[in-house]
């Protein structure tokens, strides 16, 4: 059974303020119970991982970007960005 404390802890981990904890407890629990069917799988099954070829990576080059990204921001002035004060 998923508990209210667990949901609060998860919400803190993913940094989301949630108000209706009860609702999420019920919904997450329902889905987790469904995921429990996975537990019937024999745990000796080998896992295939997808190996990526590492020889054909793109060259590590600087690609100049001509447009000014700062101009796309809403609160910018010259080369400054206005941002909230974070403590």
């Amino acid at each position: 059974m998923v508990t209210k404390e667990e949901i609060q802890r998860l919400a803190n981990l993913i940094k989301i303020e949630i108000n209706e904890t009860e609702k999420y407890v019920e919904q997450v629990d329902k889905v987790i119970r469904y995921f429990d069917t996975l537990d019937k799988i024999s745990s000796t099954e080998e896992i295939f991982s997808q190996d990526l070829a590492l020889e054909n990576l793109r060259p590590d080059e600087h690609i100049p970007y001509k447009e000014k990204l700062i101009e796309k921001l809403k609160n910018s002035k010259g080369t400054f960005v206005k941002a909230p004060k974070l403590i």
């Binding site: 919400a11 987790i32 469904y34 537990d39 909230p84 403590i87």
Partner: protein
């Protein structure tokens, strides 16, 4: 002028001058204006489309070289980055986001002179299968606006079905292209994993998702794949598929091919009409000379649980980047405690997204990792093995695309497990990295039914030939809108 043309017909008409790009594009924009208030397939319509059309007409007139799309209007799911046009993912967190670059699929289409007519609606971050989880409100099914269009690429499917664009690009993580294709009576392809670059696709579950085309004919799907498939230095999961022309030899038929009917995807828990349609498709394929036999892929029974475990886990990690610092919206400048600032902004994720992030974090947390995440990976491996074994016996697999016909808006929105069950036939292709296509097959009581065909790794050409053969047997009405 008919808007319900295929890409091939459109290109012929432009080439022989029966219609200009501007005429076609402006007529398309008129259609969007007329019907989209009801259907709501689009989040953003491209204001510049008409100028681009005029420029192409000038080039055509001056006999300058113009790319293969010849100004064809194409709609794009709003989780694929388009330079200069908003990419919102139907999320409040990205409501003003304008990507400074094009996704690889977009630059390839632009190089062939396609015109992006607009960005289509989806479930927030592509999480859902009804397009009801969009922060901009749901898309409606053009066949009956009381019904869902499927999802998550519901806007793309509706736009193609209602002739608001000739073709579209969606993304498919667990059926998000094929499910709405089936519900809206269009073709939709989930390509082999790695065949199409994901560069510029906003990540949801990287190890599983693919961008896929949606269209009104198989030939158009093949035509789009000729443009968008291929290796990309910006996505090192792309694979070298050789120089395949998917349009060539589409018409060879399927005589002598072996088709496996997946037992776990037939009958049980399925709507009667859907089973009947599938049986009908199977017997028609047999008449064409295909050899159909039942085949079992037993792990299909665990596929949905494994799929949701893996995608929730990947999503919870992918969505961690939305901290409202690099992307996001204004908050005013009063002081915030660092964590409070992030969690307050992230409150703006929709319910479904929050649910999946909670689930993803749960299955990855210590104590549960082995019980869920590792088990899900094992199921994925088992499915791959079983699918490979099946393709040693048969050339193709067949099933209904979705076990149900389109249903009414709101009908299943609060029943997570009922929605999960709709994914049972589609997720196998994603977990096994193989291609699958939904073919519009019948319309019953005014609502469409699609049939799904699967082929082995990189066997898209064979898949298209089979889909083409099947589609030639159908004579479907156009959507009423």
């Amino acid at each position: 002028m008919r808007l319900s043309v295929s890409a091939t017909e459109y290109r012929d008409q432009i080439r022989n001058g029966t219609v200009t790009v501007e005429e076609f594009v402006s007529k398309t924009l008129e259609k969007i204006k007329k019907v989209d208030e009801q259907i709501h397939a689009f989040i953003t319509v491209n204001d510049d489309a008409i100028n681009q059309a005029r420029n192409l007409d000038k080039k055509l007139k001056a006999k300058e070289k113009v790319g293969a799309c010849l100004g064809m209007p194409i709609s794009i799911k709003d989780n694929i980055c388009t330079k200069g046009i908003k990419t919102t993912c139907a999320s409040k967190l990205l409501q003003d986001f304008v990507a400074p670059y094009d996704a690889t699929v977009i630059s390839r289409l632009k190089a062939e002179d396609a015109i992006i007519i607009g960005k289509t609606n989806l479930d927030e971050f592509a999480m859902g299968l009804t397009t009801e989880f969009s922060c901009y409100g749901p898309t409606k099914n053009p066949w009956n606006i009381d019904y869902v269009p499927g999802g998550s690429s519901g806007g793309s499917a509706a736009a193609v079905s209602a002739c608001e664009s000739i073709v579209s690009l969606g993304s498919d993580t667990g059926g998000s292209v094929r499910n709405p294709a089936s519900f809206c009576s269009v073709f939709g392809l989930k390509p082999t994993y790695g065949l199409v670059s994901r560069y510029g696709l906003v990540s949801y579950a990287n190890s599983i998702e693919q961008i896929g085309p949606m269209a009104r004919t198989v030939e158009d799907i093949a035509f789009l794949m000729n443009i968008i498939a291929g290796q990309d230095p910006n996505d090192n999961t792309t694979i070298d598929s050789g120089a395949v022309d998917y349009v060539d030899d589409l018409d060879v038929g399927i005589s002598g091919k072996k088709i496996g009917v997946v037992s776990e995807m037939m009958g049980e828990g399925e709507q009667k009409e859907v089973t009947e349609s599938t049986r009908n498709a199977i017997s028609k394929l047999e008449e064409l000379g295909a050899d159909c036999e039942e085949i079992s892929i037993s792990e299909v029974l665990h596929s949905v649980a494994a799929y949701y475990t893996l995608t929730a886990a990947e999503a919870s990690s992918n969505l961690a980047r939305y901290d409202n610092i690099r992307y996001g919206y204004d908050f005013g400048v009063e002081g915030f405690e660092f964590n409070a600032y992030i969690s307050r902004s992230r409150k703006n994720f929709g319910d479904e997204v929050i649910r999946r992030m909670l689930l993803g974090t749960y299955v990855l947390s210590s104590g549960y990792f082995g019980k869920y995440y590792m088990k899900a990976q094992q199921v994925r491996s088992l499915i791959k093995t079983q699918v490979e074994r099946a393709f040693q016996k048969v050339d193709l697999l067949i099933s209904p695309t979705v076990p149900s016909m389109p249903f009414k808006l709101g009908e299943k929105i609060n029943d997570e497990l009922a929605l999960f069950r709709l994914d049972v036939n589609t997720v196998t292709a994603n977990l096994a990295n193989i291609p699958a296509i939904s073919v519009p097959f019948e319309v019953k009581n005014g609502l469409p039914i699609g049939i799904q065909l699967f082929a082995g790794h990189l066997q898209e050409k064979l898949l298209f030939q089979a889909a083409h053969a099947l589609s030639k047997l159908t004579k479907l009405p156009e959507s009423p809108i």
